[in-house]
Amino acid sequence: MSANGQAASDGVTRPAWRDEGSSRIPSAVYTDRSIYDRELERIFYGPHWSYVGLEIEVPEAGCFKRTSVGERSVIMIRNRKGEINVLENRCAHRAMRFCQERTGQVKTLVCPYHQWNYNHDGKLLGVPFRNGVKGNGGMPDDFRLEDNGLNRLQVAVRNGVVFACFDSAVEPLEDYLGEDILASFDRTFDGRELVLLGYSRQRIPGNWKLMMENIKDPYHPGLLHTWFVTFGLWRADNDSRLRMDRHHRHAAMISRRSSQVTGNVAEGVTSFRANMTLNEPLLLDIVHEPWWGDDTVCMTTVFPNVIFQQQVNSLSTRQIIPAGPGSFDFVWTHFGFADDDAEMTERRLRQANLFGPAGFVSADDGEVIEFSQDGLVQDKAFATMCELDGRGVGPTEHMVTETLIRGMYRYWREVMEL
């Protein structure tokens, strides 16, 4: 057996795990094409809900947004009854990925190649020359419009957030999330009307799971991110708790900002700048919102493709669109609430300077993911180490732990059978 695992009869590389646990993750899990292909089949196209967008992005009948589930292009569209459909962007005729605009509003969905025409539910309405021309040609007698609609995904909408799944066997969204993660979700999305502020997109040259790991890793923010540690937004001595669903695939990191530095969290931490102050204090003009309770940050990872961010007054969804084992697109959708006043909207936009591809505390996350991937590619025999706070998996009342990463890989090993 080679150091980096070997291909079994099914053609899928068996990563060389050091033990039965999930605290050492072999390089192949991040770099191997056959493993990635199984992830697409079993995770992204299997019985897992993928985030596709917010209801407010498609406010009226015929409004659509093009996005992706795994690598498959899909269209989120509202029908005349006001329901949300998610349809695969692939014509039933000749496979055309016919929708090229990112957003728009249409009466029907038309594939321009042969003008096959679908309604907002993906039902095929008609095809040109179906009955031939002057008695010639036409479709066979057994051709039925109802057999040739667009592939329609399972859809779940909860408080304005839309999820989709290719697998009809997927469990209800609420069961999928589980009680604790649902509570984190509902804390932000409690049914209030949302307002779309805009998008940021970045292509990060790393494996998609590294982004999930990043937001399941409460160890790094108080070390890598000067702003977090110096201004107390995320630091190892903050009151915090980590929660998971019963499968350990989702997680919530919940914490409270602290302006007092306690213990050894700043000693020897080069990113802590005791004397750093902002020239423009408005950048951190934090105003407490009643729905927060005592917690100032809640980062929720919903496996496999979305992170819900509340970090003080900045709110976003961060969608992962994988593109091969070594790359993914990361799409940020920032939002506020319909009852925000102009000052709060301005505040959310100002605090958005902390996040996204250029953010004071997010730009470097993309960078470290790229360099992790580089290291994994260069040493195929390597296994990462996630053993802060032991090798087990479970909720904690502190953040000095890598338990959430171990939890995700425990689930990953089960579902991947690798």
Partner: protein, 158 residues
């Protein structure tokens, strides 16, 4: 104010100096290209075209720009890279408020260590230029970029 040849030259000099400042990595000098209340914004074209207010970077006033400079030179960890700005000829007009409105195409190449140069950011400056203490400064500078998928991260100003 009218667009005399001297004024056109002065505007062209402003753009040349701005690009040279960034390409040379003299970031501490960058906020001085703006008026005290200037607004610097890097915004994806998809947001700009749809009037969505989110920016990748939005800095109002020189102090916020100085904070950004501290971020890029001191607090944000990133791979080092060079920038090279290619800036087109400005389309100019004098507005009713006596400021100069300028729209200018730009392309920024990024060169990382051990890598070939790559096209990094392509778009249009949509600017408002005014005199402050006798010097032309940006009162507003929107960098509206077409390639809305940023290659990983954006550290330095465009």
């Amino acid at each position: 104010m009218s667009l005399t040849p001297d004024l056109r030259h002065a505007v062209a000099d402003l753009y040349a100096a701005y690009a040279a400042c960034l390409d040379d990595g003299r970031y501490e000098e960058w906020p001085a290209f703006f008026t005290a209340d200037g607004w610097y914004r890097v915004v994806a074209r998809e947001n700009f075209d749809r009037d969505l207010p989110l920016s990748v970077i939005s800095l109002k006033g020189r102090p916020m720009m100085v904070d950004r400079v501290v971020g890029i030179t001191s607090t944000i960890f990133h791979a080092p890279y060079y920038q090279r700005h290619i800036v087109g000829l400005p389309v100019l007009a004098v507005a009713d408020d006596a400021t100069i409105h300028a729209s200018v195409n730009y392309a920024v190449f990024r060169t990382k260590r051990d890598m070939a140069a790559e096209i990094y950011n392509v778009g249009q400056y949509i600017d408002k230029i005014d005199f402050e203490d006798g010097k032309l400064k940006f009162k507003k500078k929107f960098c509206v970029y077409d390639n809305d998928l940023i290659p990983n991260s954006m550290i330095y100003p465009i």
